[in-house]
């Protein structure tokens, strides 16, 4: 085993047990820790003290960019760069530019939301120390886990282990870094 482990992982029997343990870990003042579960658990972010997700900021930025892109693209292409007169209609009007700007708003919002979510979650990192744990497969099946990282200021190997056992944790295991 490496000198500095990644942290401790404990398994819980049910979403309810995980929820109650998460409240205890939050109240014990741990900062660098996480819950793993096969599905989202209603209210768990409150139990963990996780703040509301900031993904909507990315979405808003994407949406505004999309709308402005649509409007300015159509103005540039049909009224500025190559003036296209069709049916005596104005060279530019926000009305005929609206449907495309609307679609681009949605397209850019979707892309920004997903990229923002990937960025915040650190996805596309295909490797994580937790994935080395032999029972980690249950976290995407029917297992509920809490991981407390060794880098947490409150982490003390023996005490944290006793704390997790006391909170109802089963099979408490040290994770390699």
């Amino acid at each position: 085993m490496a000198e500095q482990p990644y942290g401790l992982i404990a398994r819980f029997e049910s979403p309810g047990a995980l929820y109650r343990a998460a409240e205890r870990v939050r109240d014990a003042g741990y900062k660098r820790w996480d819950c793993l579960s096969p599905m989202p658990i209603h209210g768990l972010d409150n139990a963990m003290g996780v703040k509301r997700s900031i993904v909507p900021r990315f979405s808003l930025a994407g949406g505004i960019t999309g709308f402005c892109t649509g409007m300015s693209m159509i103005w540039y292409m049909n009224a500025f760069d190559y003036k296209l007169t069709v049916g005596g209609k104005p060279l530019f009007s926000p009305l005929f530019a609206f449907p495309i700007s609307y679609e681009l708003t949605i397209l850019f919002t979707a892309i920004a939301t997903i990229c923002g979510m990937f960025f915040l979650n650190g996805l596309t990192k295909l490797y994580h120390p937790v994935l080395k744990y032999e029972n980690i497969g249950r976290a995407t099946d029917d297992g509920f886990f809490i991981v407390i990282e060794a880098s947490d200021p409150g982490y003390r190997a023996a005490e944290t282990r006793a704390f997790l056992v006391g909170a109802g944790g089963l099979d408490v295991t040290e994770l390699e870094a």
């Binding site: 049910s14 979403p15 309810g16 109650r20 998460a22 996480d34 819950c35 793993l36 579960s37 096969p38 599905m39 989202p40 658990i41 209603h42 209210g43 768990l44 972010d45 963990m48 996780v50 997700s53 993904v55 979405s59 949406g63 159509i74 292409m77 049909n78 760069d81 296209l84 069709v86 049916g87 209609k89 005929f96 449907p99 495309i100 679609e103 681009l104 949605i106 397209l107 919002t109 979707a110 892309i111 939301t113 997903i114 979510m117 990937f118 915040l120 979650n121 650190g122 996805l123 596309t124 990192k125 295909l126 937790v130 994935l131 980690i136 497969g137 976290a139 995407t140 099946d141 029917d142």
Partner: protein, 478 residues
């Protein structure tokens, strides 16, 4: 729902006096299955051997798809003259087929987005396959306008790509709006589908890894992007999913609206009406739910998914089909009313001509399939007979194809001047190319059910009673 704060509110005193009946919500997963059973059931489909029926279906689907390949090859090598459209009916089968397929897709987005916002939890067991249906339907739809441009090697002119000749697309045209609407729809549908699948791909990665099937584990692992079910990740993920649902809702409504603008913005009698956008959207959802039933019922029987797609799910789908079918029927009636009330002789003639003119046969097929068929879903006995529901769903599909045929072809065949009237007869190329797209669709759908988790496992688990952290696994959750 059981928010922690909710228990704080005492029930009003009146409730104790009137003693209202408790209506239990039907279980979304029958037989009280646990999490591991759900995982095993759905992953087992991907992990197990390929069933014999799959190979038979795949072979037949490939054969049917070859009709589209042959039809398209012939069109490209010869010219669009091999299709049946002639002046005055210059939009015919390919555009009918395009609108038909794009409409089918709408049910998938409705299930995944609108029902998500409305917290209809029964959507969880059908949303994945319905979204797959959306994407494959958009693929089939996209074939037609691309080849309908005539010289397919110039199809890129549709997009604003800077070129040396400096000409940009004409953005006043609804056809150009359609390019953006459909390509945005396709892109966002794929993204939504993929994001929804990430947790389930992680499940497959872990299971293939544990089984020692390294190559499969690597491939699923690559697309799972290192997902491990972290609660902090779930928090962002759920927010992102909610926003995607929130923007896919106006998207799905706008796509068929813009498709209807292709017609409504023109001046042809029978097309130039303001009722088109809502009418097209209702019709699209109606046809899409018909297709959902056509696909889900055999799938449920073949893979023994009765515990996950319960009678309650079928009831819900049938009721939405009934509701949207009734809206479509109402739109048909209102079109007639406005044609009379608007006092425009051309408009009035168009509608009389639709019902009693040379295309009356198509009109009455449409009315029978779209207005009368769904009314049978009022009856519980009908909804409980899955074979009969499946047959009715085929009628819905047929009816909605004819709806587009009636709208597009009858209006063009009889426009303003009798000297320019005509009658459309499709050629064998038209028929084979369209027939083949069912093969293209089936090939894609069969590959999907073979290699990807066909139900959203994480979402199904989240709507089971035992997923509620406050329930102790006993109280009903819906």
């Amino acid at each position: 729902m059981s928010d922690p704060g909710e228990q704080a509110f005492a029930a009003p005193a009146i409730l104790r006096e009137v003693n209202p009946a408790v209506l239990p919500r039907p279980a979304l997963v029958a037989n009280n299955r646990d999490f591991a059973w759900i995982t095993n059931k759905i992953c087992g489909i991907v992990e197990g051997g390929t069933p014999a029926w799959w190979w038979w279906c795949f072979g037949v689907a490939c054969f049917i798809a070859s009709f589209t390949v042959a039809g398209i090859t012939y069109v490209v090598s010869t010219g669009v003259g091999v299709w049946g459209h002639r002046t005055p009916v210059n939009w015919s089968w390919p555009i009918v087929d395009f609108v038909f397929w794009i409409g089918i897709g709408h049910a998938g987005t409705l299930i995944s987005a609108i029902l998500c916002l409305l917290r209809q939890k029964w959507r969880t067991s059908i949303n994945r396959s319905a979204e797959a249906m959306t994407i494959f339907a958009v693929v089939c739809a996209g074939i037609f306008p691309v080849f309908h441009v005539g010289r397919v090697w110039y199809a890129w002119f549709l997009f604003p790509i800077p070129t040396y000749n400096g000409i940009w697309p004409q953005f006043r045209s609804p056809l150009e709006w359609d390019v953006f609407a459909v390509s945005t729809y396709g892109t966002v549908s794929v993204l939504f589908w993929y994001v929804g699948m990430i947790p389930d791909l992680a499940t497959l990665r872990d299971r293939f890894g544990a089984a020692g099937r390294v190559i499969r584990a690597r491939i699923y692992g690559f697309f799972a992007m290192g997902w491990r079910g972290s609660a902090r990740a779930w928090s962002n993920y759920e927010m992102a999913y909610l926003i995607l649902a929130g923007i896919a809702t106006p998207l799905v409504l706008s796509v068929h609206t813009i498709v209807s603008f292709d017609f409504a913005v023109s001046l042809i009698p029978g097309w130039h009406t303001t009722i088109f956008p809502p009418y097209f959207v209702a019709g699209a959802i109606f046809s899409g739910f018909g297709m959902v039933l056509t696909l889900m019922l055999p799938l449920r029987a073949l893979y023994r998914l009765e515990d996950l797609i319960t009678q309650y799910h079928i009831d819900c789908i049938c009721k939405i089909t009934l509701a949207t079918g009734t809206m479509v029927g109402y739109a048909y009636a209102i079109e007639f009313f406005i044609a009379w009330y608007g006092a425009n002789p051309y408009e009035g003639f168009t509608f009389i001509n639709r019902a009693f003119g040379p295309y009356a046969w198509a009109y009455w097929i449409m009315i029978t399939c779209n207005v009368i068929t769904p009314q049978l879903f009022w009856f519980k006995a009908v909804r409980r007979n899955t074979t009969f529901v499946w047959v009715l769903s085929i009628f819905v599909n047929v009816g909605m194809w004819f709806e587009r045929f009636v709208i597009i072809c009858t209006s063009l065949a009889r426009d303003f001047l009798p000297s320019s009237w005509g009658y459309l007869s499709p050629t064998v190329v038209d028929i084979f190319t369209f027939f083949g797209t069912f093969g293209v669709f089936s090939v894609l759908f069969l590959l999907f059910i073979r290699f990807l988790p066909l139900m959203a496992m994480a979402e199904i688990k989240a709507v089971t009673p035992q997923a509620d952290p406050h329930s102790g696994g006993s109280h009903s959750h819906g």
